[in-house]
């Protein structure tokens, strides 16, 4: 069947950069899915999506002209029914009696009619499918612009280009009619360009200042930057300045421009006296500049900015950007100097005016709770100097009252740490303040020092206990207090600092009220599971096996997962886990493991396979019961496999003699208890 290319360009006002890639994916899935459903494209057929801030583009090289015809069998009355029934069925189908036929069904013979449905013409189908699909694209925040009853989209749609087989697919959205026209870059291109095919469309955009493909824009920015950095290499120096990588920012710049050009600006090296964190935040977060390291890896007094233009012929753009950065740095310096006039300690009373949460009080109150919690948790972080940690907790939130943090909120904690150091607090205190919000993601490092870990744990646990106590649990995607991140952070800190603190005791120390303690326990179990699987990459059954026998001690759970992963490929392991599953089943049928406490009576054990297993098991148990070398424990346990197999081969567990039977079940229960300290093998899914 003949096919044709289809492509669509939704021309809009500037779409927020971070929403573009998800929108493209959705546009492709929705339209492709609908076409596939109607058999108009091949499952493995090609489709491309592209975007700039002002256009979302979908291109499908081959869409069939027409849906295949379908034949549908309509069943009528039973053959046994009177002739009248058959006649009226034929009439209903709109055909003479001769065209209906007898069909066999599982229920017997019936009158039936094979109804032919003509496949829809693709050009007809697209008329409704395309506008429906466009408006089905989900955006995190939409608007209306033609009036309340008009459509919603992320930003106003101003142009629609839709061609199928070189013909316009006619439809309209919000008063904009689809047509065979596109538009160029605002400054570098023409506002209205005739389009005949996708190939010619690509050509037209290129000639009108639009780099359609994101990958090409990214390459251009990086190539420009590389050239600028090479040119900035000091004479005689073996190394050139380098770009500080920031893939998120780079992606933002890619989707903020239709024709990106990078250029380099400079700033007065005197600003390098300010902390690098502040300068980099101003450049990257506020100005969207890429920052540069000098040959020695230190922040260089340069930056790379990206314009949406083909160049800066007069130098005005560079001049302008340098001017703005200077003003921003001046502000930062002003804040830095102003803030120094009031030491962090003097800011404590000011925290009374900063609300943490209306029911949980001010940051002053949170600070007091954090300090007390640091002291209660100190025993769990044995290497942390308690007085330093308590001091850090006392000062940790004071930077919320500084001008610098009010201006650059993302620097909370960091600024406090920098000020503490500048104001002569011990290094331990300053570092702990600096790090106490960390880790904010699973990619970020935990606090560097034990004191930092202790303060961070206290801060997060207090937040969790407080919020859960007043019913502010995260639900679905709503988690305004970032409680998942807080709990995930606790787990990561315990792991990174190898802290064997039992989670229930940590939770209890934070004094949650009522049901909150139990809810937090479950919440943490979820986070721990997530951490082991997604961050550490353990298999789900390994995680289940390990957590089934203990989920309180994070580093211990990790060590046990690690051991299972190591021993799992050895030949004895999976058969042994099958044997354990068998033991569990036997015991479950006999009333449960709990019915058989204590140790078996050696006198009642049968010689041979049973005594042999008992002897080996006791030896292994005695040698491994104290050990934290879980891999060794598992290897030794796995070595029991031949003896276990022989036991099941030779010995009948459900012996006739009641006492022997009971003793044998007690033996199995003992085995189960003795060897499931590391993991519950029965959770392992045997391949």
């Amino acid at each position: 069947m003949p096919s044709n290319e289809f492509f669509l360009e939704i021309g809009t006002e500037e779409i927020p950069d971070w929403m573009i890639e998800p929108a493209l994916k959705e546009l492709q899935n929705l339209l492709w899915g609908d076409l596939l459903l109607r058999s108009l494209v091949q499952e493995d057929g090609l489709a491309e999506v592209h975007a700039t801030p002002r256009r979302l583009v979908l291109y499908i090289p081959a869409v069939l002209d027409k849906q295949p015809d379908i034949e549908k069998l309509v069943t009528g009355p039973p053959k046994s029914a009177p002739q009248r029934a058959a006649e009226s069925f034929a009439q209903k189908m709109g055909v003479p009696l001769s065209q209906i036929e007898v069909v066999s069904t599982p229920k017997g013979e019936y009158w039936g009619f094979r109804q032919k449905q003509k496949g829809l013409q693709t050009k007809e189908l697209l008329k409704t499918l395309v506008p429906d699909t466009v408006l089905r694209i989900h955006f995190p925040k939409t608007m209306y612009w033609t009036g309340k009853n008009g459509p919603r989209f992320i930003r106003p749609i101003r142009s629609l280009l839709a061609l199928y087989g070189r013909r316009v697919v006619p439809f309209s959205i919000a008063g904009v009619k689809s047509a065979a026209y596109t538009f160029g870059h605002r400054v570098l291109g023409k506002p209205r360009i005739k389009v005949t095919s996708f190939q010619q469309y690509l050509e037209a955009l290129k000639n009108n200042g639009v780099v359609l493909k994101a990958a090409e824009r990214r390459e251009k920015i990086l190539a420009d930057a590389a050239r600028l950095l090479a040119a900035a290499q000091p004479e005689g120096s073996p190394r050139r300045p380098t770009l500080r990588e920031n893939p998120t920012l780079l992606n933002t710049l890619v989707y903020l421009t239709e024709f990106p050009t990078a250029d380099m600006g400079q700033f007065d090296p005197a600003y390098l006296e300010l902390p690098e964190e502040v300068l980099v935040t101003v450049m990257q977060h506020h100005q969207k500049y890429l920052s540069v390291s000098d040959a020695a890896g230190k922040l260089a007094p340069r930056f790379i900015f990206v314009m949406n233009l083909d160049g800066d012929s007069t130098g005005a753009i560079r001049h302008g950007n340098e001017r703005v950065l200077r003003a921003r740095f001046n502000d930062a310096r002003f804040f830095w100097e102003t803030d120094q006039k009031t030491p962090l300690g003097d800011r404590l009373p000011m925290l009374e005016h900063v609300t943490f949460q209306s029911q949980l009080g001010s940051y002053r109150q949170k600070t007091e709770r954090n300090v007390a919690l640091v002291r209660r948790l100190a025993a769990f972080v044995p290497q942390a100097p308690v007085e330093h940690a308590a001091r850090a907790a006392e000062l940790a939130k004071c930077d919320l009252t500084t001008e610098l943090v009010k201006e650059f909120t993302e620097l909370q904690g960091v600024v406090g740490g920098l000020y503490a150091r500048a104001q002569g607090e011990p290094g331990e205190v300053a570092d702990a303040i600096y790090d106490h919000y960390k880790p904010e993601s699973m990619e970020e490092r935990s606090p560097r020092t034990p004191a930092g870990a202790l303060v961070a744990l206290a801060d997060k646990l207090d937040t969790l206990a407080g919020c859960f106590s007043i019913g502010l649990k995260p639900s679905g995607s709503s988690d305004p207090f970032a409680l998942r991140r807080a709990a995930q952070g606790v787990v990561k800190i315990l792991a990174d600092h190898n802290l064997h603190a039992p989670l229930p005791e940590l939770i209890a120390a934070a004094q949650p009220s009522g049901e909150a303690a139990g809810q937090l326990g479950e919440f943490f179990l979820d986070r721990l599971r997530y951490y082991l699987r997604e961050v550490r990459g353990f298999r789900y059954d390994e995680v289940n096996a390990v957590l089934a026998v203990g989920a309180q001690d994070v580093p211990d759970a990790i060590a046990r997962c690690e051991a299972v992963r190591q021993v799992r490929p050895t030949s004895n392991f999976e058969p042994l886990s099958a044997a354990f599953k068998r033991i569990q089943n036997i015991l479950r049928k006999a009333g449960g493991v709990g019915q058989f406490p204590g140790e078996p009576d050696a006198a009642l054990l049968e010689g041979g396979a049973e005594a042999e297993l008992d002897g080996q098991a006791r030896r292994v148990f005695e040698e491994t019961k104290e050990s934290r070398d879980y891999e060794m424990v598992l290897r030794r346990t796995a070595e029991l496999r031949p003896a276990v197999d022989t036991f099941f081969d030779k010995v009948l567990v459900m012996a006739e003699d009641e006492r022997v039977r009971r003793n044998r079940l007690t033996f199995l229960a003992w085995l189960l208890r003795a060897f499931t300290r590391v993991a519950d093998f029965s959770e392992i899914v045997v391949s």
């Binding site: 006002e13 500037e14 927020p16 950069d17 801030p53 925040k141 608007m143 209306y144 612009w145 033609t146 009036g147 309340k148 009853n149 930003r155 106003p156 101003r158 605002r186 400054v187 903020l256 421009t257 100005q287 500049y289 900015f305 314009m307 949406n308 233009l309 800066d312 012929s313 007069t314 005005a316 753009i317 001049h319 302008g320 950007n321 001017r323 703005v324 950065l325 200077r326 003003a327 001046n330 502000d331 002003f334 009374e352 005016h353 900063v354 609300t355 209306s358 001010s362």
Partner: protein
């Protein structure tokens, strides 16, 4: 030579005047932003088309820096443009206005970066961008979606030009105080922004941060709030259009503006805790929402004073 501060204003007014805007004068009650003036807050409500542009000194007491900071001001000047409904070529019109003040778009980098606007005190929000010129934010561009808690239909576009920033950019000075306010003419002196405004910045910073009497400010707040509530309660909802038309909703709105400004003063004085903050904002919003409702009711009942259809269509 680059445009002086006042010539910049003249040019923008000239441009938007040609687009059919009423060129208004600044509103004579203190406001935190041009959006709060009745010419925006009330005119965007309801179905009647309107186009207006005006300069509005906007007071943000907490932003004062005693005239010491080269970029921060207690009172800055905005040029506010409302186009209701927003025309399809609004972005092009805006870019033309930049050309009209001497910005050659072939030589400068313009970007529209996501920035949605929200005013909890006014129960208002919109979707839009900050417009960046060579890395400098020069305009807030917003499609209003809601105002006074009421969905807007049609959707107006609001353009807010930051005049000091644009003037400093055009004149290439690092401090707003070095902006040339008026060009020297016929032997008369030229004045700088410092000459015209520095004392204003210094003295109001002193007042706002140090000298304003908190008890008095609270008293004033409560008086204005009470007056506004009284008026809103007396609005003749069930009565004749003629009764409604002469009811002073506009006077009630002035009371809202007074409250909002007093709230800002109290805030800069450090007299409002964060917990109280939410509550006080809620009180002001309630007044704003009440006024918006009465205004709409009044204008459904009465004939609205709007430019004729022809005046809007003609460019």
């Amino acid at each position: 030579m680059a445009l002086s501060f006042q010539d910049l204003i003249f040019r923008l007014q000239e441009f938007w005047g040609r687009q059919g805007c009423v060129i208004q004068t600044p509103y004579d009650v203190e406001v935190g932003a041009g959006t709060m003036c009745p010419e925006t807050f009330l005119r965007v409500l309801g179905p009647q088309p309107y186009r207006v542009a005006y300069v509005q000194p906007s007071r943000r007491p907490a932003d004062g820096r005693y005239g010491d900071n080269p970029n921060r001001l207690f009172k800055h000047w905005q040029l506010q443009v409302i186009l209701k409904p927003s025309p399809a070529d609004i972005q092009d019109l805006y870019l033309k206005s930049l050309r009209h003040i001497g910005i050659d778009l072939r030589k400068h980098d313009i970007k529209f970066e996501e920035d949605n606007w929200e005013s909890p005190t006014l129960g208002a929000w919109g979707i839009g961008w900050q417009v960046m010129l060579d890395g400098l934010e020069i305009t807030q561009f917003t499609y209003f979606q809601q105002c006074g808690g009421i969905d807007l239909d049609p959707v107006p576009a609001e353009l807010t030009y930051g005049l000091e920033r644009i003037a400093a950019f055009l004149q290439d000075v690092d401090s707003v105080y070095d902006i040339v306010w008026n060009p020297p003419k016929r032997g008369a002196s030229s004045f700088s922004y410092r000459d015209v405004r520095h004392a204003d910045e210094l003295q109001f910073s002193v007042y706002n941060f140090e000298r304003a009497d908190v008890a008095t400010l609270w008293q004033l707040f409560e008086l204005h709030e009470k007056e506004c509530r009284r008026l809103l309660a007396e609005y003749p909802s069930g009565q004749e259009p003629a009764e409604k038309r002469r009811f002073p909703v506009l006077a009630a709105y002035d009371q809202v503006l007074k409250c909002s400004h007093l709230f800002n003063l109290l805030d800069s004085r450090g007299a409002i805790s964060v917990t109280e903050r939410v509550a006080v904002i809620g009180r002001v919003r309630e007044l704003a929402v009440g006024v918006a409702r009465s205004w709409i009711d009044q204008n459904v009942a009465a004939t609205f004073t709007s430019p004729s259809e022809e005046a809007v269509v003609a460019e």
